[in-house]
Symmetry: C2
Subunit: 274 residues, 2 copies
């Protein structure tokens, strides 16, 4: 790659708006980088879809970002990371960073008693994506997984302090609490929105791992290694594309990103599927 | 239409599996009819998508059913009914029955004090689909609407008796309770799964309207009027098509249909979109 490649944007895609919690981490840690975000809101959620469908959609999403000339792609969707990352790496010749690897490495750095919990969508958990990676990296670790399908709609409702949310978190996390885990991976990009509730229910001695934060560190390393870190000394720009603009989209997007979202462009699905 | 048209199946489509609660009503009320069901599980939910997307998908779903030679189409999805039914009727020349009309008529038959509540997805409620229809049919009726986005994932979790479900129902229905409604329309095909909780929280004096039950009555009338009621004297058959078979699909489908679901066929999305 030549010198100007470092000026290219970082591409980030997700099945919907959850990946905006990851964008938020990038804006903080790599403020001079340009970001192109694509949220596949017309086809969300990926978590309840079959593996072949998730792979097909992920390839389309990545191709869209490449058409915007990105220098690296972050798969800010745990389902797509767990199901499609090998296929993406096989197909495209730029750094591709998922959530599973970075989140797993961060969890292993943190755990003292080698008992790690993982929560995520049904798809992520039924694939055992984090468990496999954690055990591959450290066969002595014990992993306890739990699917928490209601956390996504709770986050999108913005119910971050309601009784019902605590009740549901109790229901889901009770089992993990009894396993005496000391580290809990938030294996879905929506979950950082509920981290207050999750921390309170799981207890103060359990360290929460935000895979979005972990992925920024890996992206930094990768870009540095490839001489691709931006040399820009002013703030970068973010551009947001989605495949549909549903009811309440802006409100939820701003809750997730933690700041106003302007200039969202809708991409027609036909342009993705050809 | 000729004599044998009455032997053709009734087509029922939904954005996913919620419409199976409607199929359940048809199996009880019209046991001799053949049923072709199409659930667009690859593209569920419609409730969070824009109107133009919902119309496009609904036309594709109806075309798929017509390719199976159906004599009538039931739009067993409140979002599609509220957004796409005019376009469907303009495009296709067979009886097309939605959820909004039948549910509204049933509510008006039931209410004594002319105060009707409606609950549904964000899309159905933000379109005021039921409120508009109810007021069109009876301008003196007062309508109180509330979106309950968490009810769909709660139904799919099968959490029909949990504390958290009651807490969430309290949160959503509190406002409606204070309006002294005597009738409540379940404006989403998932909601009959939670009718026990909803009835308990809204109180015993409020009559719940299941639009699925209401739609069967209208379909019966329409078929009779057009000499299309099946003359078969044995039980009809049901065939199920879906655009994706996600994790836990069979389990949830059987909860919704109330009996075993066999022989589900996956339809490739490409065949819908051409």
């Amino acid at each position: 790659m030549n010198n100007t490649d470092s000026d290219k944007p970082i591409g980030i895609f997700d099945s919907g708006i959850g990946g905006l919690t990851v964008v938020k981490r990038f804006l903080t840690a790599l403020p001079n980088e340009n970001i192109i975000y694509f949220g596949d809101t017309a086809r969300v959620p990926y978590g309840s879809k079959s593996n072949s469908t998730v792979i097909e959609y992920s390839l389309q999403d990545a191709r869209f970002l490449l058409s915007k000339n990105v220098k690296a792609i972050v798969v800010a969707c745990n389902t797509a990371s767990s199901v499609a990352i090998d296929e993406l790496r096989k197909t495209f010749d730029i750094p591709i960073i998922g959530m599973i690897g970075p989140g797993s490495k961060a969890a292993l750095k943190e755990t003292k008693n080698k008992k790690v919990g993982v929560i995520g969508t049904r798809a992520t958990i039924s694939n055992s994506a984090y468990a496999k990676r954690l055990k591959f990296l450290d066969p002595s670790v014990e992993v306890f997984e739990k699917a928490c399908p209601l956390f996504v709609p709770l986050a999108e409702e913005g119910w971050i302090k309601k009784n019902a949310t605590f009740e549901i978190a109790e229901e889901y996390l009770n089992e993990l609490r009894s396993k005496e885990i000391d580290t809990l991976v938030l294996g879905c990009t929506h979950y950082p929105i509920l981290s207050g509730v999750i921390q309170k229910v799981i207890g103060p001695n359990v360290k929460l791992i935000d895979s979005g934060i972990a992925s920024v560190e890996i992206v930094k390393e990768e870009l540095k290694k490839n001489n691709l870190l931006s040399q820009r000394d002013s703030g970068g720009e973010s551009i947001f594309y989605v495949s549909d603009i549903p009811t309440k989209f802006k409100e939820i997007a701003e809750l997730f990103l933690g700041k106003p979202v302007n200039g969202i462009t809708k991409v027609e699905l036909e342009t993705l599927t050809v």
